[in-house]
């Protein structure tokens, strides 16, 4: 028994070493990106793998920061993402609650409509939305982009809430209503707090999705001062195609907020993956 135990252990060590070696496939590109943002352009060309030496500086960051107007696009990202996530979660949770509680044929039809729309790609909406938005002067506006974010992701989030509300015993609602609470009060005071797990899971997924968005931005936003971070990087690549020494810090600057977000939310991100995918 002791022998087999030791054997198992050494196999674990080998496995661990192999996995760390394999992880270099992920780590080296990030190292390569990071290390070249602190070097002079000439050093990047001659010794790209080397650590920065005497030429270590933040000057390429300063240049990238001002060229992409980082503070501005960062705030834009906060506005787009923040408003869209909050609105989406409110609208979806309310709808899911109504759809679970009311089971008329009309409500069942709406539910089916939401579910089946998950399979319709956003690409189906692009051309008519562009026409609509230019007719109603919604191009280059925050509200235009936010509306698209909110309502092109509503069916999926409603579906998540729906599955969760269904697991709550209906007696809870009946009891609240008996005590004289209105539908609104029952939802906001009793049900919404219970839905926190879904709110967190869906919220995190939406944050990452909206924060990184490019397609909606490229369709509806052209003004530099309205762009989000990803869109701003795209505009700059177009202008300085081969000037990697300015572009690499831009990539880093666009990744940094996500790394911070991931660091603080890691526990929930992993939990959300589990809850959202494998119901067992």
């Amino acid at each position: 028994m002791r022998i087999s135990h030791e054997k198992y252990k050494s196999r674990d060590y080998i496995m661990e070493i192999v996995l760390w070696i394999l992880s270099l496939i992920i780590l080296i590109p990030f190292y390569y990106l990071a290390v070249n943002t602190f070097k002079s352009p000439a050093h990047v060309t001659h010794a790209p793998m080397a650590l920065p030496g005497a030429d270590f500086s933040f000057s390429s960051y300063q240049e990238a920061w001002s060229k992409m107007n980082y503070p501005r696009v960062f705030i834009n990202n906060l506005i787009y993402t923040g408003a869209s996530v909050v609105l989406n979660l409110f609208v979806s949770s309310m709808a899911a609650y109504a759809l679970v509680m009311k089971r008329t044929r009309f409500h069942r039809f709406i539910y089916l409509l939401f579910i089946s729309s998950i399979m319709i790609p956003f690409q189906m909406l692009i051309i008519p939305l562009m026409r609509m938005f230019s007719d109603f002067h919604m191009m280059n506006t925050y509200q235009g982009v936010i509306l698209v974010y909110v309502f092109t992701n509503i069916s999926f989030v409603t579906f998540l809430y729906y599955s969760f509300v269904k697991t709550i015993p209906p007696q809870l609602e009946e009891a609240a209503r008996m005590d004289g609470a209105t539908v609104m009060q029952t939802f906001w005071r009793i049900y919404f707090p219970l839905l926190v797990p879904v709110t967190v899971t869906a919220g995190i997924n939406l944050v990452i999705g909206f924060w990184n968005d490019f397609l909606v931005q490229v369709l509806f936003i052209s003004k530099p001062e309205m762009q989000n971070i990803t869109r701003a990087v795209f505009s700059n690549v177009g202008q300085f195609t081969t000037d990697w020494s300015t572009l690499l810090p831009m990539f880093m600057l666009s990744m940094l907020p996500l790394i911070v977000f991931f660091f603080f939310m890691q526990k929930y991100i992993v939990k959300g993956l589990v809850a959202g995918s494998v119901k067992g």
Partner: protein, 300 residues
């Protein structure tokens, strides 16, 4: 009695008020444009034709005689299938390895998962730097350093291999995500299953095939479904790496749609391509769900 009735009516209204914002927004921002796209797809609507006329199925027929679009259909299919297969092929062994008692498994899981949270556009740019044929191209440099210099390629400029380079980047970015789903799924497999398999004299391979692989059905459903749909929709990664080139070598459904729709302003024609894309996604999802849910049913 009247007040009770009134109260009931009031609460019925309140439910509809809860539903209203979702319904209204969905109808205007989603349903209406989707239906409009279907209508456009049967017309010659473009920036040059101010009068729109119905032309039946002409757009759909033309698509299959359009080199750019047939290349897009072919490439997107190849991309989606290869990505989906490779993603799970790497993620399942990785998940099994990271489900063991390894001490640093949480850090390792994070490392593998990390690329997934970043924008595909940015990851695409990072890799176009790595794939560069200039003196700083990471891949070609590494190949030279380990004595495999003859394998160095023009990874994104050679039309024969550009699409595979794109698939590689997608797998690089997406494997960790799939691994996380599989790890979560593995934790739901009862340990006794393996113990009794050992008692019955099953080899490690047999117990992997009959226990691990079959129990992974739920995670496999979600991974392959999102993989196929995401693969068919791919856009920003291609924009960053090749922008559809060289020639039409990496043209995908969405890059082609953007080109026909907004570079050339042929709205009806581009809408027809969107409709084909939607039909493709629906058929694939339907078939996959049929096959995979049968596998999941077997579990019960």
């Amino acid at each position: 009695m009247i007040s009770a009735k009134k109260k009931k009516f009031k609460s019925a209204i309140e439910y509809e008020i809860l539903l209203l914002p979702a319904l209204l927004g969905f109808a205007i921002i989603f349903l209406y444009p989707a239906v409009k796209s279907i209508i456009y797809s049967f017309t010659d609507f473009s920036v040059f034709n101010r009068t729109i006329s119905f032309i039946g199925l002409k757009n759909f027929i033309d698509i299959f005689h359009d080199d750019r679009l047939t290349a897009a259909i072919k490439n997107s299919t190849l991309y989606a299938v290869s990505f989906t297969v490779l993603q799970s092929a790497f993620a399942i062994p990785l998940a099994v390895a990271l489900d063991s008692k390894i001490k640093t498994r949480n850090i390792l899981r994070t490392v593998y998962y990390m690329p997934h949270i970043f924008s595909a556009l940015i990851i695409g740019y990072v890799w176009s730097f790595n794939f560069s044929t200039s003196s700083f191209g990471l891949i070609n440099n590494t190949l030279k350093d380990i004595g495999l210099g003859f394998l160095a390629q023009n990874w994104l400029g050679d039309p024969r291999i550009a699409i595979y380079s794109c698939i590689f980047v997608a797998v690089w970015q997406g494997t960790g995500y799939a691994m996380m789903l599989y790890v979560a799924n593995l934790q739901s497999i009862p340990r006794e299953m393996y113990e009794s398999a050992v008692i019955d004299g099953a080899s490690p391979f047999q117990s992997f095939r009959h226990i691990t692989f079959s129990f992974l059905a739920p995670a496999m459903t979600i991974t392959t479904l999102t993989g196929m749909i995401g693969g068919l929709k791919v856009y920003e990664q291609i924009v960053a790496l090749t922008n559809g080139g060289p020639g039409y070598a990496t043209e995908t459904l969405t890059t082609a749609l953007m080109y026909r729709g907004f570079t050339e302003n042929r709205y009806g024609y581009a809408s027809a391509l969107a409709v084909i894309m939607m039909i493709g996604i629906m058929i694939i999802s339907f078939i996959q769900l049929q096959i995979l849910s049968k596998r999941e049913d077997k579990l019960l």
